[in-house]
Amino acid sequence: MSTAQAPPSDLAPRVLSNDPDDHETPHGREEEWRFTPVAKLGDFFESGQRGSVTATESEFVTMTPAEADPSTVEKDAHWVASDLPSALARTNATSIVSISIPAEREVDDIVVVDLTGSEKLNYGRIEISAGAFAKATVVLRLDMTTDVSGIVVTDVADQADLTVLALYDGPRTSRHVWQWATTVGRDASFLGLAIALGGSIIRLQQNVRYAGPGGSAELLGAFLASDEQFQEFRIFVDHNEPHCVSNVVFKGALSGAQAHTVWIGDVRVRREAVGIETYELNRNLLLNDGPRADSVPNLELETGDVVSAGHASATGRFDDEQLFYLQSRGITEELARQLVVRGFFVEVLDKVTDADLRRDVIRRIEERIGMDAIEQQLTDVDA
């Protein structure tokens, strides 16, 4: 419950500044950091000369030197750093990976951006802009072996249609702390897909706001955590414009005694955001005893004049009845488990409309859950 002294929203960030000195160092007691293993991220909160994330330049991808003044994309997206890591990345990255789709340009081929870092810890500054009426799919491949503290600032202009898939599939030693902030223009569509498979620690703060009415944002996630992996997804959708839509679906599968995932789904519907539709869902599948999945949906409604607003969250054990059904058809227990896990992710993966890209993502997931054996069995005879 808010008091007279409380900020107008419990969910909106309290400090907005690009100056790292304006932000407190997280200790783990703060609401925003209470699930995160901050003790293992000490270097992420200290200023210093680190490496910068780079990418190979191509038709839509350029490397530009970073400047202190707000960039065009930052201005268009109304983006300002909202915590210490994002302010540090903003201030210390020496270059910007800029992905820019010109207005009215419909790009058929997927824009694949392989991000790499040079030092042990690297600051990443990524900017993505889709001009008015543009249409494109961008894939950010985060297969790097190094640690990254980064920001992705995305501006989707009026009536543009942008899909960004971020794939975290690096080795089990890398740490990722990212803030991904997107502004969705009038009648524009944004589809953000986060696929988290690798890394030792992944913390993704994903913020969405709107720059006009009629915008649509879909945030989807598929994550697999095993052994000692920690994965945290913090979603904040700020419904600040009327007649916009947001749909959040995150699905996670966990195995191993030490795996821990966190999903926080914050949605704020401001007084002026009438006629909006919002829905968020998190489902977690525990493949065995031990893993921990935290799931906290928060919906803050400042107007009742909405089309629909809802959320659902469920964390469940593997369904033994499904296993029995599949096994009663001769399928081994191991294969049955793998089929159920793959089926669990289908709802998210079906949103990847490009067939090759979808196949690549499914292949990576299958590798992580040891599915290749079945496919091999099925394809051998056809060959």
């Binding site: 029995f324 059904y325 009663s328 058809r329 089926g343 056809d382």
Partner: protein, 253 residues
Amino acid sequence: MSTLQITDLHASVVTDAGETPILKGVDLTVESGRTQAVMGPNGSGKSTLAYVIAGHPKYTVTQGSITLDGEDVLDMSVDERARAGLFLAMQYPIEVPGVSVSNFLRTSATSIRGEAPKLRTWIGEVKEAMAGLQMDGAFAERNVNEGFSGGEKKRHEILQMSLLKPKIAILDETDSGLDVDALRVVSEGVNRFQEDSGAGVLLITHYTRILRYITPDVVNVFAGGRIVETGGPELAEVLEADGYERFADLAKA
């Protein structure tokens, strides 16, 4: 020639409250080419019999034996039983989200046959089996049992049976919830399967209606966790006329 031999079978269901005995000494033999009907009132334990044969983990066998051609079925895992030639058409088939019927069927057939069926002949095989059950081809692209009507679920069970070709098939209330047209289609599917494969069928049902389409060799009345009377098809007619009341006392014995 295959024989499923059930001898003095006792089984309990294990819940948080403890162990409740359900099967109390079942003796039954199902042989290739023959159809054994098991009929009984609600709660008599006839579905439990089906689940115990298939190996559902909820039930514990406390006494007795089940063998298939002399092999100890109780010693096998659920999937081993299926690969040995047992099939259970379930009363309440389970939804498996995200797994398509076509993927499921092919994975099952691969598991049962020990090798993946050749794609070209497999597609023809599935099409023919689906046509026989008056199933639309688009059905194969749907997820297993997800959003299926009662009739679609039962057709899907019989479809699996005809593709997996078990030695002994157990049909657990396959007729329940079917309208007359669907019942006829499903029954014809069962009859065709048995003619083609010569499999043995254990037909578990509450109603006599399905026996107008599938003629049993033997009718067993099941009450109180065991078989209380055995006869020919004429026994079904007696049940149709009189109901299960006269077996109520036997059930308590």
